[in-house]
Symmetry: C2
Subunit: 440 residues, 2 copies
Amino acid sequence: MKRALTSQIPDKIGQQVYLKGWIYRVRDLGKIAFVLLRDRGGVVQLVLEKPDLIKQVRDLHPGSVIYVEGKAVQAPNTELGAEVHVEKLEVVVPIREAPPIKYYEKDLNVHLDTELDYRPLSIRNLKKIFIFKVQAFILEAFREALRKRDFVEFRAPILMPVPSESGADVFEVNFFDKRTIYLAQSPQFYKQIMLGAFERVFTVTPVFRAEKHNTTRHLLEITQMDAEMAFIDSYHDAMDIAEEVIREVMEGIKAKFSADFKRYGFELPLLPKGKFPKLKIKEILRIIEKQTGKSAKRPELDLDPEDERLIGEYVRKKFNSDFLWAINFKKDKNLYTWNDPENPYESLSYDMLFRGLEVLSGTQRIHLHDKLLENIKKAGMNVDNYRHYLMAFRYGMPPEAGWSFGLERLTKQLFGLKNIREATLFPADLKRIAAQRLAD
Amino acid sequence: MKRALTSQIPDKIGQQVYLKGWIYRVRDLGKIAFVLLRDRGGVVQLVLEKPDLIKQVRDLHPGSVIYVEGKAVQAPNTELGAEVHVEKLEVVVPIREAPPIKYYEKDLNVHLDTELDYRPLSIRNLKKIFIFKVQAFILEAFREALRKRDFVEFRAPILMPVPSESGADVFEVNFFDKRTIYLAQSPQFYKQIMLGAFERVFTVTPVFRAEKHNTTRHLLEITQMDAEMAFIDSYHDAMDIAEEVIREVMEGIKAKFSADFKRYGFELPLLPKGKFPKLKIKEILRIIEKQTGKSAKRPELDLDPEDERLIGEYVRKKFNSDFLWAINFKKDKNLYTWNDPENPYESLSYDMLFRGLEVLSGTQRIHLHDKLLENIKKAGMNVDNYRHYLMAFRYGMPPEAGWSFGLERLTKQLFGLKNIREATLFPADLKRIAAQRLAD
């Protein structure tokens, strides 16, 4: 008999069905037993009334793999409005011990460390499954939005002959013959090189930062969603594309997952009717000073996490938007960003803030070979190490800009999670690699 | 004036158009000059007749960035059937030196080392652009085919607490406090863990093999396209999915790119009408012995590259197919593959060969915790290092199987390229990292 999915049961009332799944919960009332069966479609209630069937499941714990045959029946009081009255049951993989965490509860309700210690089980929780299903949708909708706009995907390299941005915070890899190579801190140089072929490119790629700090918004390995575009008139063109893309992603989520957002108690983001509010860093600091008394003076023209939170709240109230642009930073850090020709104390840079956290960062790049060469030399870097990068500009590069989203940060903010680790399947930090705690 | 793309010119005959692009070639005949302008749409011929316009381009080399305004005119002898008679021209980025490789020729025609030494320029060649545009399409069509079948995408971790398969050929990363972590050799363990949440998963991810050899089909960093599925009846289910996926990818390519395959002299693959031929390794070796006299004896039940080539040719002739399945290897290498219960001298394993090269490899996995634990112990591995992996099975895993395609190998075979480096934007091998030659 052909397998049906739990989600198809409401459409098969009165029919014989064959299901394969995991036991999510068992409620054994003696003369009747209720089993929640989970498969990729969700969960459905199984009803067992025959004593020999009840006996089969009595000692089974969540995670047991069973295949069942029975009749689909209306059941108005269940979430699906339907259940299956079981006639045959095969125990394929019996689990005889209780799982160490109760992932089958509505909320996981465990300490973050416990969630990660039991990552293979915590991701079986329906709410967690939902979060990571939406994360997969973000990737899909992101790529789709860019492809529609003629951006071509490419695979940025991870192994680097030299550190990809600066020498700081880079992971070293032991190469043959006692040499050292490096892990990509960003696909920056490669997406710029790729413009020469495709004019508009994007990549979704892991990047690595060896930063020895422990915050709720940083990890050692994250997923960047990067785009870069040539032939711009100004850096506002790149912001426009990013804004259109994130709007399509969020509207896709709304169209597809609204009911589940409600069911799990998550809040869909507020998108403004018109464009996202766009504020200069200078203005943002003045607004914050006026609102809170916090001084507008910073070592650089930059926002700290508290600034991001404050301006996020301000913009939400004033503009009814969970998104805003913060533009014209001046951090003097990277060698490839233009300063504003009319105001060299500001750079042609932009961050997108979502619910008070930076989720995108970008700049207009220096596209003139000689200027770039000058900056590389000024920074004391070995020119020969950057020969491919410089070559792309030496033989013709139009005005261009780009940006990168952080997938885990986007997910964290979308679901209002406290810690980026909750939005990451296999997080790497100082104590854990791929979610697994390092041995002492 | 709104920018038009070169590819739109045939639809704008008689209209004023504004184009932005790179000079691909200049042909200056004195009283008239022809410029091939390249943008993301392709190339179009510009015709310059005014002396001051000709003067502007006379000293410009390929790669120069120009913006032009003019009239779209029919031109039956050009590839597009249309050209632009230029009235205004702005030189935005002039290039005053000839590029070191003639990427604007129809064929690049340089040594592979030269191609890679000048990677930022070689990818500007139209034929190269086409290859990597199709590579991007493979990624898109692959994901789409799997999503349609309820596979959910996830991001597999790259940083590993322990080597992901065996200790051999793994890259070591220097971690904090003089510890060592590792780069993923495969997403294997993580896609298996993810089955517990999604039942069907896929990931496209870089993987790393520190293999000190130099062949036309290996690199240190490649892109794996992995899928894994639970609740199978047999490992043939996983082969069926892979076959459906690759068929949809290839049919998508045929529908979208047939004309360009012809233009650039590439051959579309032969897909059999029915299922791909499926042959046991044992049979394959016997066929080869019969056909060529090459002995069927091997140290393991496995195929070497020559075997792959020979059986590929045989199947193409006999079954009119560029694809075949080679099944039931016995290599005794990995700890998670079932042997055939009816014949322990063969394993439940399968490779897909495409034009005589393995492009996919997969197996049915051991889904029973105790059996897996036994194998890990037998292999002398530290059980505690694999606690997340084992946890996924300890608390319930259905029968499951999976496979992984190599993106670069697929691309190599699709275009009949001699070396995998031609199918890789930024290849890593013993001498190059991210295509750039390592300093001596």
